[in-house]
């Protein structure tokens, strides 16, 4: 049986798509057949982050409307075996996704895949609710910043009341992923710490992704940042995938790194 994981946040721009691409790729690297679905109808972007934008022919809405079958719409990732992408449609029709349509597609994917990652749009509207409705687990992406934390709490409320699992009396397993973390600013008491955010949201911590130049470089090139093993962000995502699979891995990159004399002199960058 496939596991459905939604990547959500409420607030936009916190790193949902970056995370979906990284976690999806990470699961495939670990040998699980994985598909990442872009639920952001009208504002498709997962294809760009994963570097397959020129290979999109059919999309999620085409499959729902039976204008194409699933195999025609699925894009096989060229870098990572066992990884597939189902792109969102660029239609401006907000109601293009229907609950029955989404369910049929997920049911069909579940026959073939071990992990289904749903990349949610921002907001708490229909698209975001559709992305989380069928989820078994949720990765709530949060920045250490007031509006992001507040929105995460709202989306947690929706997960606990408006998901299929909740309606059946169960619970969606929640994970907190803190992104754009800056240990220097936390040390200067200018940024909420991991402990602060955990305190407020009370959700188990899946990982902390440090603010890193590697993320923009990765998206520039359309290669998920988890493939950049040199970067702290890439390594932090690899750790997060291990934790998602139930392994115990210690959290890294939470403390200020001491710069060596030469690095300080030359102003080294991560």
């Amino acid at each position: 049986m496939a596991k459905i994981i939604v990547v959500t946040s409420g607030k936009g721009g916190v790193g949902k798509t970056t995370t979906s691409a990284a976690i999806g790729t990470g699961l495939a690297l670990r040998g699980f057949k994985t598909v990442v679905i872009d639920f952001d109808v009208g504002l498709r972007n997962l294809d760009l982050i994963m570097g397959c934008e020129r290979r999109v022919v059919y999309d999620f809405v085409n499959v729902i409307n039976k204008e194409a079958n699933l195999n025609q719409a699925l894009i096989k990732d060229k870098r990572t075996p066992g990884l597939y992408i189902l792109p969102a449609s660029q239609t401006r029709d907000k109601d293009a996704l229907t609950m029955e349509g989404v369910q049929t597609v997920l049911d069909n994917l579940a026959k073939d895949f071990e992990y289904i990652i749903c990349d949610s749009p921002a907001g708490i509207e229909q698209g975001a609710q559709m992305a989380l409705y069928f989820a078994d687990e949720a990765i709530v992406v949060t920045n250490p910043e007031v509006s992001s934390v507040r929105d995460s709490d709202r989306i947690l409320g929706i997960l606990q009341s408006k998901s299929l699992k909740a309606e059946q009396g169960g619970t969606v397993k929640e994970h907190l992923l803190l992104t754009r973390y800056n240990p220097e600013r936390v040390a200067a008491a200018e940024m909420l710490s991991v402990a602060d955010v955990e305190d407020i949201l009370a959700v188990p911590l899946l990982g902390v992704i440090p603010e890193s130049d590697a993320v923009l470089k990765a998206s520039n090139q359309g290669a998920p940042v988890i493939l950049d093993h040199e970067s702290e962000a890439g390594q932090a995502y690899l750790d997060a995938v291990s934790r998602l699979l139930g392994e115990e891995v210690e959290h890294r990159f939470l403390e200020v790194q001491k710069k060596g004399f030469l690095k300080r002199l030359l102003g080294g960058k991560k």
Binding site: V149, R150, D153, E190, L192, D199, I200, L201
Partner: protein, 87 residues
């Protein structure tokens, strides 16, 4: 950072702790509202309207809260009446 700044900083709270406090308050407030039934805001308005027929009160002088315990729900209505001397 100058020495002057260092001493100033001691007096002021860090921005991160201000953020945390603000968040704790707003999140607790919003979580409370989350468990309210949909009719709640309207009922609150109507209760205030009824009271206002007899006593002149402001909106913020009435607090209506619904507490859900294990097997019973308690509707708590708290009205601050104006000073008698003002009558």
């Amino acid at each position: 950072m100058s020495i002057f700044n260092y001493f100033l900083k001691k007096e002021k709270k860090s921005t991160a702790s201000v953020a945390k406090e603000r968040l704790q308050i707003i999140v607790a407030h919003e979580r409370n509202k989350r468990h309210q039934p949909d009719y709640f805001p309207k009922m609150q308005q109507e209760i205030i309207a009824v009271i206002r027929k007899y006593v002149n009160i402001d909106d913020d002088q009435v607090s209506v809260q619904l507490d859900n315990n294990d097997d019973c729900s308690v509707l708590e209505l708290n009205i601050t009446l104006p000073d008698r001397s003002a009558d």
